[in-house]
């Protein structure tokens, strides 16, 4: 009997498969150069403490975004050729050390952000949640003014990294609010996490 070539068998199989599914043959992939757009993330955390009997609380914590967010390392780890976007993705918060009073709340709280040389603008407003237990990160409600300040700092940070120059992206975060119930000793810790999202491209040889 006439011997079937494996090439003929393969072609026949692919032809049958193409007919049935209308797609390209999965057994003989073409390799082509593709530009893939990645998304990576980073974050920086600012920690706060609430202590004492006075129920009006406040604290200022200053930061340097270039130190706390190693953008150059993030881009290098992902092998990104070219950055296409950087932005503030959001802010999350959590209580890291619960108050001894399980009924304790952090209330009427505003978190302001200020870039060095600039003015305080609201980042979180009318923030309220329990401080009597620890919990995992929760999404905070943001103010557009504070978001705009962070986005401007991120753009400047990216520019500095790409041009191999020092970045001037430092600032301070201030939280002001109430610890309730009043007239009781407050003792809890909480923090906010500022999440950054970055997109960039890389070129790979991949099957079609």
């Amino acid at each position: 009997m006439k011997q079937l070539h494996s090439a003929g068998l393969l072609t026949a199989l692919c032809a049958v498969f193409l007919t049935l599914t209308g797609s390209s043959c999965p057994l003989i992939p073409d390799i082509e150069e593709k530009v893939i757009e990645l998304a990576v993330g980073g974050s920086t955390t600012v920690a706060f403490e609430a202590r004492g009997i006075i129920n009006e609380k406040g604290q200022v914590e200053c930061f340097d975004l270039a130190d706390s967010l190693d953008l150059a390392q993030i881009l290098e780890d992902a092998d990104i050729d070219s950055v296409t976007g950087i932005a503030l993705a959001g802010v999350a918060y959590r209580v890291t050390r619960a108050d001894p009073n399980p009924e304790r709340t952090i209330s009427n709280t505003t978190v302001l952000i200020r870039r060095d040389g600039g003015s305080d603008v609201p980042l979180l407003v009318n923030f309220e949640d329990t401080a009597g237990e620890t919990y995992d990160f929760r999404t905070a409600t943001l103010d557009p003014a504070g978001v705009a300040v962070v986005n401007a700092m991120l753009e400047d940070l990216l520019d500095a990294v790409q041009n191999n120059q020092p970045a001037n992206v430092s600032g301070c975060v201030t939280w002001m609010g109430q610890s309730l119930p009043p007239s009781e000793d407050t003792n809890f810790d909480w923090e906010i996490r500022i999440d950054v999202t970055i997109s960039g491209t890389i070129t790979l040889d991949l099957p079609s």
Binding site: S6, L10, L13, E37, A87, L142, S199, P207
Partner: protein
Amino acid sequence: MKSTSLRLGAGLAIALVALFGGTARAQLEANLGALADENARGYLQPLVGALSSTLNGSVFQTGYIPRSGLTFQIQANVMGASFDDDDRVYRPTDPPGFQSADDDFLAPTVIGDTRAVTQQGQAGTQLFHPGGFDLENFTIASPQLMIGGILGSAVLVRWISIDLGDADLGELELFGIGAQHSITQYMLDPPVDVAAGVMYQKFDVGDGLIDATTLQFNVTGSKRFGVIEPYIGVGYDTFDMSGEYTSDQTDQKVKVDFEREGNVHLTVGGRLNLRYLILHGEFNAAAESGVAVGLSVGM
């Protein structure tokens, strides 16, 4: 024939390594790091069906298992599956910290469009979702050893291990073991050869990036017409997969477990039985549809 085999072999090696090897694997890890675990599950979901179908293809190719007379075959099998258009996107959920302003947002999966997409959030925030690798098909190759003719039974073993070329990235490894038992030997004057089989396989990429196991139960019927042997298989595949990556936000390891899947697996194929050489090709309808071919040498 030779040029086709070389191109096929080279293409397969490149395809397998290209998707899971070297730089592509590093980019897959980078993309996962930006995703919360729910979204990582959505991003990788197409691989579940693809791996389930391809790993369970080209396992059982005949219902004829001799009762006596030792036989062995060394096989090289190639299994492919095609993705549906629906597999190219998924609906992401908001990770902690991000509040979306668009409830009807779709992001690319690992096989979807290569461009990242931007999801608008509250107060001017944005979240970038990674692009995919724009794949239409998924192909995997595996050698297989079959030893049979012992009381109408055969043992099957699959194994392949590929160094991904970087000490930090680890290996790609596939191991499978199974058995097939002739039902025909218990029948009087059977019209066709029938055998029942089971196959367990484990597929790992890197250091926990992808871990998958699958179990296939199968009944295959075939009939020889000279050197030609058409066959039909009916089976059931179970598939488990998990992924592990490091979150960009928390720097913690995140393990993503996918729901166990079970799918009916139908196979229609044919073999060309030459003296020491067997060629086979088949069409599989399972979690995904696909084709498989193989070349065996032995007795």
